[in-house]
Amino acid sequence: MYPRSFHYHRAGSLEEAVSMLGQLGEGAKFLAGGQSLIPLLKLRFANPEHLVDLNFIPGTSFIKEDSGALHFGAMTRHAEIEHSALARKIPVLHDCAAGIADVQVRNRGTIGGSLAEADPSGDWTNALITLDTIVHCLGPSGARTIQLRDFIKDAYTTALAHDELVTEVEVKIPPQGSGGAYLAFKRSAPVYPSASAAVQLTLAGDVCQDAAIALGCVGLTAIRATEAETALRGNSLSDKTIATAAEAARAAADPQTDMRGSAEYKRQLVVALVKRAIQIAVRRARGEQVEGAHLYA
């Protein structure tokens, strides 16, 4: 399958990429890891006249810690995050990176590209929305930062202007006593999940001080299950409390019936995923090392 013909431009810097896109106009698009965009081009769902390739820009792939936050260059590949000891400081990030599609896709796909694409089934948005995440952007009028919750507007829609791009993703390291988990249920590795759940909890003894729960692939964007969070906050995390929260998450999910399952099936998946993710998050909050693994049908 061939995409429609396009002109290819290779940016040497992020500033040059922004100015190229401005000059080339509405028919131009940025190309990051390409693992979502190239399939869309091949199916001719997207038909840009110009592609501005970001892959040759030096210094856009990095993972560093600064002022209590982890910083990821926009072109950092999923595989680089998967294998980063630093990224393991926030276990949700490792859970997410290590479970995206398969080895080949993780070698190419990027965290910045994933956020900018805003696919409702994409993993990164759902995992990061439970954390304090700031998206650094660059446009013709300069740099700005946007909270992730304000960055994602709708399915495939972000706060980015046409000629604006993501330069960096900043994730605040959660406090001591906080633990998180990201779990996705997939029919096989290369496909998008049928449903996913991200949980971040902060405990004081047995009592849950703070909770963030997000659901993926069951709405037009990642959904914060606020009533499920309320069910946990201020309570000790007994099996009954966890079950109440998981039931509240079922009500928050808004799935569509499609080839990945019926809406009812996906709601049931959400209950199971939220329950398991809470259990892992609690153990991690208590300092246990727990491998979070995606679940395959």
């Binding site: 995409p3 013909s5 290819y8 399939p39 091949k42 390739d53 080949q104 290369p190």
Partner: protein
């Protein structure tokens, strides 16, 4: 297809090192890496399976890392080193991975095998003694519809042992 004049206007000159040999070609930007390998380099060992980033039949190594060559443009591999199945054999001798796939009956129709061997190559380069879980994860992006995978796992374990001993 666009008219020839348009193609010439948008064509890009690229240099890709494939299996140690430099290929300098003028290509349309929309040419996929897998088509570049098969059509422009005449290296037809890399297969097109699903053509939708699913099956992994088109897997090659780019600078040592497994990528799906149906989901990259050839222009993006400009200046890089690509290894295809044709590059595994050295001086008429099969690579330990190739030999192990044969010895363990790790293939039947063989269509997925080039991609599987290159995913195996990335795995064993960093980890010659992978656990079964690590093997499963490493080849999760490669679909085989004949073998049921059990002999592929055996082949990968055998290849790892042989590469470590070599």
């Amino acid at each position: 297809m666009p008219e020839t004049a348009t193609v010439e206007k948008i064509a890009v000159k690229i240099n890709i090192n494939v299996n140690g040999k430099l290929y300098a070609r003028q290509v349309e930007p929309r040419m996929l890496l897998v088509e570049f390998l098969r059509e422009a380099c005449d290296l037809t060992g890399t297969h097109v399976g699903c053509d939708t980033t699913y099956c992994g039949a088109c897997t090659v190594l780019m600078n040592g890392l497994a990528v799906k060559s149906c989901t990259m443009f050839a222009v993006q591999a400009d200046g890089s080193e690509i290894t295809t199945v044709e590059g595994l054999e050295k001086d008429g001798k099969l690579h330990p991975i190739q030999k192990a796939f044969g010895d363990s009956y790790g293939l039947q129709c063989g269509y997925c095998t080039p991609g599987l061997m290159l995913s195996t190559h990335q795995l064993l380069s960093g980890n010659p003694e992978p656990s079964e879980k690590e093997i499963r994860k490493a080849i999760a992006g490669n679909t085989c519809r004949c073998t049921g995978y059990m002999n592929i796992f055996k082949a990968i374990e055998l290849a790892g042992r042989n590469m470590k001993g070599a």
